[in-house]
C-alpha cells in the first residue's frame, strides 16, 4: 500500500492529525457530488419514498400507505416466482460464464499462431447489441424452422422438434444459453487480464519443482487468479440479476410466467400498469437483493485479501 504510506508520511511531516477544513477543496467537489446526488442518490431515495405510497399514475391515488406495498408484495406469488427465476438465471449464467470464460482465458493466454485475431474475434458476441442477440437466438431456437432443432434432428438427438420458447421447461434454459453466448467473452477478457498479472517465473519455478500442468494451475495460478475471478463473477452476477432485454424480446415473461424475472415484472408494474408505488416497492426489494449479493461477494473477497496479506 504505497499510497497509504505516503499519505501517512505527509501527515506526520506536517504534524497534522486531521485534514484541515479547506472550503476551496469542498467547492471543487460540489459538481461531482451534485451529479452523483442527482442521478444516483436522489432517484434511489425517491424510489424508496414512492414504495411507501399507493401512487398510480392513471388514478388520483397518491397517499402514504406505510408498508402495505411490501406486505402485498411478499404475499404475491408472482413476485416470488419472478424472484426465483432471477436467482436461477443469475446463478446458472454466472457459473457457466465463469467456467467457460476461464477455459477461454487459459487458452488465450498461451502463445499460438493467430492469437491476436482470436482474441479480437472472441469479443464479437459481446459487442453485438443484446436485442440483436435476442432476435438471433429467437431464430436459432425457433421451434419449427430453427437451426438448432434441425441439427439436433440430423444428428439423431431428437425425433420431434423441441418447442424451445413455448414450453416452460425449456424457455428459461434457452435464455440462459443466449446470455452465456453473449457474455462469456466479457468474463474471458477479465480473467485473461487477471492471468496476465501472474508472473511467468512462478509457473516456471513450479514446473522445475516437478509440478504437472494440472498442479501448476490449481496450486499456483488459480489461487493468484482468485481475486480477479471473484470480482469478475461479482460484476457478472450483479449484471445478470438485472436481466431484461433477452426476456422482453424473446418471451415477454411467458409461457405461463415461466421466464418472468424481476426486471420484466417491475417494468410491467411500473410502465404498463403505471403502479408507481407497487412497482417501486418491487424495485426496492430488487435493490436489496442486489446489495445482499454484492455484500456476499465482498465478504468473500475481503477474506481472500486478508489471506494473501498474511
Amino acid at each position: 500500500m504505497p499510497v497509504a504510506r505516503t499519505l501517512t508520511q505527509v501527515h506526520v511531516e506536517s504534524g497534522m492529525r486531521f485534514p484541515r477544513w479547506r472550503p476551496g477543496a469542498w467547492l471543487l467537489l460540489v459538481p461531482a457530488l451534485g451529479a452523483i446526488g442527482a442521478v444516483s442518490v436522489y432517484p434511489v431515495l425517491l424510489g424508496l419514498w414512492l414504495s411507501f405510497r399507493n401512487t398510480t399514475l392513471s388514478s388520483p391515488d397518491d397517499a402514504f400507505i406505510g408498508v402495505s406495498n411490501y406486505q402485498q408484495l411478499l404475499a404475491d406469488g408472482q413476485f416470488w416466482n419472478a424472484w426465483g427465476h432471477t436467482i436461477e438465471f443469475t446463478g446458472a449464467s454466472t457459473l457457466l460464464e465463469t467456467i467457460i470464460g476461464l477455459g477461454m482465458a487459459l487458452v488465450l493466454t498461451e502463445r499460438f499462431l493467430g492469437r491476436g485475431i482470436v482474441r479480437a474475434a472472441m469479443l464479437i458476441p459481446w459487442a453485438i447489441p443484446t436485442v440483436v442477440t435476442s432476435k438471433m437466438f429467437g431464430w436459432l431456437f425457433d421451434g419449427q424452422h430453427g437451426l438448432v432443432n434441425y441439427l439436433a434432428r440430423i444428428f439423431g438427438l431428437i425425433h420431434t422438434n423441441i418447442n424451445w420458447y413455448g414450453s416452460p421447461e425449456f424457455a428459461l434454459p434457452t435464455i440462459v444459453m443466449a446470455d452465456v453466448w453473449k457474455t462469456t467473452p466479457f468474463m474471458a477478457l477479465l480473467l485473461l487480464a487477471g492471468l496476465q498479472t501472474i508472473p511467468r517465473s512462478l509457473t516456471e519455478a513450479a514446473s522445475i519443482d516437478g509440478a504437472n500442468p494440472w498442479q501448476q494451475f490449481w496450486m499456483v495460478r488459480f489461487p493468484l487468479l482468485a481475486p480477479s475471478l471473484l470480482i469478475a463473477a461479482m460484476f457478472r452476477a450483479l449484471d445478470a440479476f438485472r436481466i431484461f432485454d433477452l426476456v422482453y424480446v424473446l418471451t415477454g415473461g411467458g409461457p405461463a410466467d415461466s421466464t418472468e424475472v424481476l426486471s420484466t415484472l417491475t417494468y410491467k408494474n411500473l410502465f404498463s400498469a403505471l403502479q408507481f408505488g407497487y412497482g417501486s416497492a418491487l424495485s426496492t426489494l430488487m435493490f436489496v437483493t442486489e446489495i445482499i449479493i454484492a455484500v456476499g461477494f465482498g465478504i468473500f473477497l475481503l477474506k481472500r485479501f486478508r489471506e494473501v496479506k498474511l
Binding site: T130, L250, T251
Partner: protein, 472 residues
Amino acid sequence: MHFLAAICIIKMHKNAFPHDKSDPEPSSRSGIDNDDPHPARLVVDSDSGLNRREFIKRSSMALAGAAAVSTFVGPRRAYAAGAVEVTFASAKFYGRQTMAEVVNAFNDSQSKIHVTYKELPPPSSSTEVHQALVQQLARRNGDPDVFTLDIIWIAEFAGAKWALDLDQYFKDSTSDYFTGLVQGCTWQNKLVALPWYVDSGMLYYRKDLGFSAPNTWAELIASAKEATGSGKVKFGFLWQAKQAEVLVCDLVSFIGSNGGSILQADGKTVSIADAPAVEAVQLMYDLINKEQVTPADVLSWDEEPSRRPFTGGEAAFLRNWSYVWKIAQSPGESKVVDQVAVAPLPHFPDKKSAACLGGYQFGVNASSKKREAAVEFVRWMSSPETQLRFATQLGLCPTRAAVFEQPEIGKEQPFMQQLKDVFLGAIPRPVTPKYPQVTLALQSAVSTALTTGKVEESLKTAKQKIETIVKA
C-alpha cells in the same frame, strides 16, 4: 461515468432526429421492428472502450450534430404570424405518406393554426407509446394538445381526466361513424375520443385448398385436419398465444364466439370463470393439444411469427389483423398471392362470430390551453377527406361508413370493402380504467391455462385477481 454520459448522448440523438425513418419496411405493425427497450445499454456495450479524450470528442460531435440538424430540419416553412401553436403526438404510421406529411397538409390548408407533430414509436410497440403519452399527460401542462390513443386506453385516459369530454363539439356528428366505435370512444356516457381508424382480428384462409370459410370452430377443425392430412400444408390453424397483449385479443374473440365475456358492461362483474369463457379457453387448449391443428409454438408467437408460415404457404388458417392482407397479396413477400380469402372468425354452435376491436383514436388533452384550435385540428383529421387520405395513402381503414363506400377505396384498397362486415362485428376488450392491470392478470392466467391445461383453475385465479383490481 461513461455509462451516464452515454445515456445523455442517446438522449441527444433521440431529440436530434425525431423524424428519423431508419426503418424502410412498410409493414408498420410488424413485431420485428420493436423499438429497443434498453437503448442506453447498447451504446454502453459498444462504447465503453472509449478513452476520455475520444469520448469528449464524440460527445461534442453529437452536440454539434444535434445543433446542425435542428438548423436544417427545423420549421421548414414560415407560417403565418399569430397562428395558434398546437402540438400533436401520435404513434408512428406510414405507407405511401407519413403522418408528418398529413400534418403538413393541414398546416398548408389554413393559416390560423399551426400543428407541430411529435412522433412516438409504432403501434407494434404499444406499451412504449402508452408510456410516452402517460408521462406527458400526467404533468397536466397541456402538452401535447392532441394525441392518438389505442382503443384500450379510452377508459383509463378518461378516468384519469386526461382526455377532454368532446360531447359539446362532436355530439351531433357521431352518427356518421360506426356505432361500435363510438361506443368504444365513450366512457360513462361521454364521448372522450373521436374515431380515427379501425382494425380487428379476422380469419385468413387459403381458398385454393378446396374448403369454404368455416362458420363454426368444428368446421374449422375438420377443414384444418383435412388440409394437413393431405400434406398440402404443414399447419392447420395459426393464432397467437405469446404472453402479451395479443393473447388477450385472441382470447376476446374465442370467448366472444361462445357468447361469453371477460368483464361485464358494469365494469365490476368478472365473468372470466363462467361456463362460456371456460369452454372457450378449453377450446384454445384443445386446438393445440387434443385436435392438434395448432402447433404448440404459438405459445411463444405474436403477430409476425404466426404470419410468416401462413404467407409462406405452410398453413391453412390464420387469425390476424388487417395488415396481413397487403403482405399476402404482394408477390415479393408472399407465396400465396390470390390464394387467400378473409372471413369472420368461426363461432360455437348457435353463437355469433366475434372479432377483437383494435385501432387508434384522436383525443384532446383536457389540460390544453388551446382547446378550440385542437378541436379544429381533430375535426380536420377525422373528416371524410382526411379519412380517405389515410385509407388510400397509409392503409388505415376508415371509421366513417360513408368513406368505406368511396370508389377510390375500392380501387386502392379493395380488401377494406370486403372486410367491412368483420369490422362491424368487432367487440372491445374489457372496458375499465384499470385495463393495463387487468390485461397483465389475463395474460398470465391464460398463458398458464394453455400451457398446463388447468383451464378452470387458472381462470378462477384470474377472476379473483381481476375482481381485486377493478374493486380497488
